[in-house]
């Protein structure tokens, strides 16, 4: 798609009279092709009109900018004509004079006769010949809006901006005008951006519907492609097979937002006073290389720097105890595998949904898939080898170790196996084993391989019992690995403490990323209270080149442990959504019908952004563009369900609405 209008990472911040700031729009990024009709929809107060005004140049963004044909928009101009909601005709001018005002200005170089011709042509275009000499007060609402459209079109704008253009009209007039507008736009290949709250109007007119979440920090929640062929007729569009499913999707989105608005109102009561609400925190972690940010925050005094004076890091034996610790509130926060907050929120293991929030990604990458040396000796050197091996030995059971159902290890291992046509539920057996026990189980021959974080791959490799057939960088580079997981009700109770915690950990992540600090990180990790292993097993990937097989040539893997680079700490929504699809793919949780709401609530970009801003760091989320894993299957964050349907699985896809608010009201 060639970009005609580029809305480039726009923020709009209003200064409040009490000295505070109101972030109306956050990181709006949108590309519009020539001739495209795009609709902005959302509840009132979501900033859609503000966005339109920024496009028009009537308002300036606080961050980012608008490009029209590659040039930045800095002020209003006739190449972006606006059709205002209240028509904005000048009451002292007749219909003709209202249109002429712009024409005479913009086409000042043309001779009088030609300008006259343009004016008359556009009076006819909107069918107002009989009223050409009337003043606006003599016209009906529909006629006024026709004048407003004619005034805009007469200037041959590159982009037509419409702000709820038909909102005040009766149904019949509205229908006629919509069809007229569509026809005009199509004949003249006009690019349009329209703001509306009418879902039927949006469907009838648009090529794409951009749905915005509620303010503050309103952003693009979902984009809907309206693939109904043109020319469209009002009465025929509704018969299109996709019409009602598209319409339902929009209504559903708006309903989710309405609930969010109500919830936000309730939460405002819980805001605490100055200082931190809680300074003694218990934070759970699992002995792994990627617990480094927690260990460093503690050892380098970063927790204390942000006022968290009594942080106890609690070394947990396995992920299950982490879950229990969070559930029964023994732990205030925990290092979690990336899918854990999502799966707990959805209600893993048939338990009631427990909203758990991520506002920080602690680490990315750092995993590998290790197979036993025995398999290597049988010639299994790649995924296709393994598939062939399974096909040739149908009677045997092959067991793999994973650390937790909702961990990236499980999800990536399954994805990796499935991409080769291996059903992870039927062709192999997956068992949950705590990370520190993986090597022992492999040695015993209880399992044939596992997917886990370091140092538990390197240890098997160094000891010669296993080899890494793939690292997670071969599957999905820079995937979110460990996150900070906290109960939502805890955050609502201790918002400032949470902010301090996130800030301390962002700084710790930055420290861990710097390769000059890695020797020190290694020394801390090797201590018995953290990972407690021989540093030799911790070095590969973290400091040294990574060795996939004992005695093999070590290879330099760029960012094997990624803590901070490329804004890796940001809990992006799109990657969270990908995890949701995989949890549903393997039948661990249903796919939430209200996925927009689930993602908004569990991936708290707003809280991350607040912390980042206070640290003077960029606070914007990565673009929500479609992406693919190693096999090239595109994941479009606007169409998770169609992505799910394209993927192989032996599970039946279950789509359900998850009601999060029942348990929340009890806890709050």
């Amino acid at each position: 798609m060639s970009v005609f209008v580029g809305i480039d990472h726009i923020d709009k911040v209003f200064n409040l009279s009490n000295g505070g700031k109101y972030i109306a729009l956050k990181n709006i990024d949108l590309k519009i092709a020539q001739g495209e009709f795009v609709t902005l929809i959302g509840h009132s107060g979501c900033g859609k009109s503000t966005l339109l005004n920024i496009l028009a140049g009537l308002d300036a963004p606080s961050q980012g900018g608008v490009l029209l044909e590659g040039r930045q928009v800095t002020k209003p101009g006739p190449d972006r004509m606006v059709v205002f909601q209240n028509y904005s005709l000048l009451p002292w001018l007749t219909v003709r004079e209202n249109i002429a005002l712009g024409v005479n200005k913009v086409y000042a170089a043309l001779p009088q006769g030609e300008r006259r011709g343009i004016i008359e042509q556009h009076i006819d275009l909107v069918g107002l010949r009989h009223a050409a000499d009337k003043k606006p007060k003599e016209l009906s609402g529909g006629m006024k809006q026709r004048v407003s459209i004619a005034r805009a079109l007469a200037l041959k704008p590159k982009v037509l901006l419409l702000d709820e253009p038909f909102g005040a009209l009766d149904a019949l007039t509205r229908g006629n005008l919509q069809e007229r507008l569509m026809q005009i736009c199509q004949e003249n290949n006009v690019t349009c951006v329209m703001v509306t709250h009418d879902v039927d109007e949006a469907l009838l007119l648009s090529d794409r519907v951009v749905m915005l979440t509620n303010g503050p920090e309103s952003h693009v929640g979902q984009i809907l492609e309206v693939n109904i062929p043109r020319p469209r007729k009002r009465l025929e569009v509704v018969k299109h097979p996709n019409y009602y499913s598209l319409r339902n999707e929009m209504i559903y989105f708006l309903n989710q937002q309405k609930r969010a608005k109500y919830r936000r109102k309730q939460q405002l009561i819980a805001v605490a006073g100055h200082g931190l609400e809680k300074v003694n925190l218990d934070i759970g972690f699992i002995p792994l290389t990627d617990c480094a940010p927690l260990a460093i925050a503690k050892e380098k005094g970063l927790f204390a720097k942000y006022g968290l004076e009594q942080v106890t890091l609690s070394r947990e034996p396995n992920w299950k105890t982490v879950v229990e610790g969070i559930r029964d509130q023994r732990l205030d926060a925990a290092q979690m595998v990336a899918g854990m907050p999502l799966s707990l929120t959805l209600g893993l293991d048939k338990k009631a949904p427990l909203p758990v929030v991520t506002s920080l990604v602690l680490s990315r990458n750092g995993n590998a898939i290790t197979l036993s040396k025995a398999l290597y000796d049988k010639g299994v050197h790649s995924l296709s080898d393994f598939k062939a091996y399974l096909d040739n030995n149908p009677g045997q059971t092959h067991r793999f170790g994973i650390v937790h159902p909702s961990s990236m290890h499980n999800l990536l291992l399954r994805y990796w196996l499935a991409s080769a046509g291996i059903d992870p539920d039927r062709d192999v057996e997956l068992n949950v084993i705590p990370p520190p026990q993986m090597v022992a189980n492999l040695k015993e021959g209880n399992i044939d391989g596992y997917c886990v974080g370091e140092p538990w791959n390197s240890r098997a490799i160094q000891e010669g019992v296993g080899y890494a057939i793939a690292t997670d960088l071969d599957i999905w580079p820079s995937h979110p690995e460990k996150v900070l997981g906290i109960r939502e009700d805890w955050i609502n109770r201790y918002p400032k403490t949470h902010l301090a915690l996130v800030k301390a950990l962002i700084e710790a992540c930055e420290y861990c990323e710097d390769r000059r600090n890695r020797e020190e990180v290694l020394e801390v990790l090797a201590r018995p209270e953290y990972v407690g292993v021989d540093p030799v097993y911790l070095r590969p990937g973290l400091i040294d080149p990574y060795q996939k097989l004992k005695d093999a040539e070590p290879e330099v893997i760029h960012r094997f442990n990624q803590f901070y680079a490329n804004q890796s700490t940001c809990p992006g929504r799109a990657e969270g959504l990908w995890i949701l699809t995989q949890l549903a793919r393997w039948g661990m949780t249903p796919f939430p019908k209200n996925w927009v709401e689930i993602i908004e609530r569990t991936r708290r970009i707003d809280l991350y952004g607040e912390a980042a801003r206070q640290l003077g760091l960029p606070d914007a989320e990565p673009d929500r563009d479609p992406f693919a894993l190693f096999d090239g299957v595109m994941f479009n964050p606007d169409e998770p369900v169609s992505y799910l349907r394209r993927l192989d699985t032996s599970h039946e896809l279950l789509i359900q609405e998850i009601d999060l608010d029942a348990p929340l009201t009890l806890a709050a």
Binding site: A56, G57, L58, K75, P76, G77, P78, R80, M81, V82, F84, N86, S88, L90, P91, W92, L93, L101, G102, K105, V106, K135, P136, K137, L155
Partner: protein, 231 residues
């Protein structure tokens, strides 16, 4: 002064003033002229003074209205000056201008100008954001904006200022003429009082009222012709 003359009944007023009513156009020289001439002289003064205040008032109003800072700085001063009664200006203007005629004009000017300035300024501030947006989108120049948007949009306010202004101007001239003398309806009353001709005063009052009404209607009519209503 001797005894105060008695207030005559309506019939007596009518019979006393019949001469003046049926013959408004006589001119015996000096100040002894028909009521038409008296009123005409006053109207001329009002016309001149009011025109001046309209021009200066609208100009100042637009200037002040287009800048919020100037407006908030100057508005309190206007609010104070506006309450000064017309006649209180008279000694000042006599002292400054020395002559009767210009002083009278100045009193009219200074009386009528305040509502015109204040209303114009408000009108300029109240130009709807929509119209400003239209002008910004069309990239109208300052001049084009002034004539195509600002003046027409502020016109209703300007005219209501003018309407209040003309009423005040008429009020002021009658009072000023009583003190300054010469031909004019104000001095006519004063003259009649000195001659104890209460009936003539009553007739003059009726005429003043009627003329005031006509002036107000006249400005109203002009405003109706010029100002476009939105609704």
């Amino acid at each position: 002064m001797g005894d105060k003359p008695a207030l005559p009944p309506p019939t007596k007023v009518f019979s006393d003033t019949l001469e003046l009513i049926i013959n408004p156009f006589f001119d015996n020289g000096g100040t002894d002229k028909g009521l038409f001439w008296q009123i005409w002289a006053s109207l001329q003064r009002v016309g001149l003074g009011f025109s001046l205040s309209a021009i200066v008032g609208v100009g100042l109003g637009i200037l002040i209205g287009s800048n919020a800072k100037i407006y908030s700085a100057i508005d309190p001063i206007f609010q104070v000056l506006r309450t000064v009664p017309p006649l209180a200006w008279l000694p000042i203007s006599l002292a400054a201008l020395k002559e009767n005629e210009p002083s009278a004009i100045f009193v009219i000017f200074i009386t009528a100008i305040w509502p015109i300035i204040i209303n114009t300024a408000v009108g300029v501030q109240q130009v709807p954001q929509d119209y400003r947006n239209v002008s910004r989108v069309l990239q109208l120049s300052k001049r084009e904006y002034f004539f195509s948007i600002l003046l027409p949009a502020a016109a209703p306010y300007i005219f209501s200022g003018l309407r209040i202004g003309i009423g005040l101007a008429w009020l002021a001239i009658v009072a000023a003429e009583m003190l300054l003398g010469g031909v004019g309806i104000g001095f006519f009353i004063w003259d009649a009082w000195n001659s104890s001709l209460i009936s003539e005063i009553i007739l003059a009052l009726i005429y003043i009222g009627l003329v005031g009404l006509l002036l107000d209607r006249f400005v109203g009519l002009v405003s109706q012709l010029v100002v476009a209503e939105d609704k």
